[in-house]
Assembly symmetry: C2
Homo-oligomer: 340 residues x 2
């Protein structure tokens, strides 16, 4: 009998907890938080760049292809390292000839970048297929002349074949635009669902008690006013909105023409320090407190920042398994690398 | 009846061809050429660094780990890119702060490096576990202080765990020596058997007629006096032996104290241009002719060089499939990257 009562009590506690969790899920969804849709890739499969296995495979090779840089040494993966949360772990991007980004901009993660409304910190690019071209040609990044990029790939028979398969309707498929399209297609597959998505879908025990507390606080403090949607970020917002950003002196980035800055995704945020557009903050707690101050005009205590950090840890997602691509050899006619 | 005669003739031709191939196999073996032994890894499993799955897995992560460089940007894979024939495809290695190797040395391939008698162009290192330490600390390469490398890994709980598993007998397993041992263990697995190995083992149709002609020429010209064994290279030899090397002015490398230089492996040679210790020659045909002149004192014609090139193509082997490792995140106590 005693055992039966104990069991009933336990069941009651579980229901109360499940009930509270259900309420938290509704609260989170009302605040605009959304689980990653497994249809995401397909939904984003625009007419401009239909995704096919052939294109994704090619894009994966090109993502790791250092011959798309002038020097032959830098690939997309150098700054957006799939092993390092999709970023590089350094404050400011370093590119061709060891040049730091002239605006002291930090490399954002490529994981879940497809979920953002705009690309680059100033949101000047509408999608990944457009974005991918920027770093390839930027002198402090990969520094390549698009014509050289095309010539290098055209000189390698395996690439000629793979571009034909990826762009079967086109007579001259190796173009700089198609290079970026293939890379964009691959990048669209880089989504990382986590326990948080399972929770939002109703699996009430997918988050720990502490993570749920952190999530509630995250919503109550107003973080979801910017960090929302599937990406928990990805829109353009005024920055700083209320008080000055304490590290504004690092670099000269001022956002877009309206002073807005792209809100970074919080997915895998524990893996992508240092933080902010200029990589000036190394700890998540300081980042959270700074956001409270500059964006919301509130003080977030150390204890509260710790709780929110704990929640953010639940956004670390499963990365797609990538076989490191074996790239086809250069030929006698391949334009040579140039480190200068 | 006519058909029967035709078939008999065909069979006779096949036997003659098989007979000739068998003779070529014997000739090749007599010249010291050996197929990659599938026991290679085990044979090389020394008491100093017994290979275990845990150690190989850790070594694979460390091979791709840019935090083993001062800047946090350069890994073993930067210069020994597993996607680019295990090398970097540029004449001279470029490292920390975009510094070119001061002796203008070219990055050798890591594939099949385990099969060499000695490591580095001057052969100063006896094995991979010793070699791996060199580029990590060299100022123009990864430029890291061994203590910082250890501190970085010690600050990351997943690495603490993985080192315990890889070095279960040791109390303090995260040491610079063990970092190199794990990397060495992984590198020992990077062997790439090709059709040539099948041929040497008796599969007479594993090479084409042209490749067999090239192989016969390769032996007849005396290339096997240096390019022999499983690696078709990997020993220390006088260089230049007969006539001056025409690009001796590129860099200041003079070999070891006796003027000897390590013979590069010819496996995957079609994937690892440019050639020679100073990366001065881009085409295989020119490399072959130069070797004839400087090392053997003979003139190899264009037609002969083309035939030998064709044979060398059969040494392009199957690369192990590597899942790109997801590396554990840094923590608050991880020593910061330093690009300066």
């Amino acid at each position: 009998m005693k055992k039966l009562i104990t069991l009933s009590c336990a069941a009651a506690i579980v229901s109360i907890s499940a009930f509270a969790s259900q309420a938290l899920i509704e609260k989170a969804r009302s605040a605009g938080l959304k689980p990653i849709s497994y249809k995401t890739i397909k939904e984003l499969d625009t007419k401009e760049n239909p995704l096919t296995p052939a294109k994704i495979k090619l894009g994966q090779m090109l993502y790791f292809e250092p011959r798309l840089s002038k020097s032959g040494l830098i690939s997309c993966n150098t700054c957006h390292n799939l092993g390092l949360g999709g970023a590089d772990g350094v404050p400011v991007a370093i590119g061709h000839k060891w040049t730091a980004n002239p605006h002291h901009l930090n490399s954002p993660t490529v994981y879940n970048a497809v979920l953002a409304n705009a690309q680059f910190w100033d949101g000047r690019s509408p999608h990944l297929e457009d974005q991918a071209k920027g770093p390839m040609v930027a002198p402090p990044e990969m520094a390549i002349d698009p014509k050289i990029a095309e010539e290098r790939l055209k000189s390698i028979p395996t690439y000629v074949e793979l571009f034909k398969k990826a762009f079967p309707q086109e007579k001259e498929p190796i173009t700089f635009d198609n290079i970026a399209k293939a890379i964009g297609a691959f990048e669209r597959t880089l989504i990382t669902p986590s326990r948080f998505d399972a929770f939002l879908r109703g699996k009430t025990n997918a988050l720990t008690k502490e993570e749920k507390e952190g999530l509630a606080l995250f919503i109550d403090k107003g973080c979801t006013s910017c960090h929302t949607g599937q990406a928990l970020g990805g829109t353009m917002q005024p920055f700083p909105a209320v008080k000055p950003y304490p590290y504004a002196h690092v670099g000269d980035f001022k956002g877009d023409k309206d002073g807005r800055v792209k809100v970074p995704t919080l997915r895998n945020i524990t893996e992508t320090a240092p933080y902010f557009h200029n990589g000036a903050i190394w700890t998540l707690a300081e980042a959270i407190k700074t956001m409270g101050s500059t964006q919301l005009g509130i003080e977030i205590s150390d204890a509260e920042a710790a709780k929110i950090s704990t929640f953010l840890g639940s956004l670390t997602g499963k990365k797609p398994a990538i076989i490191y691509p074996i790239l086809p050899a250069s030929t006698l006619s391949t334009p040579k690398p140039d480190a200068n």
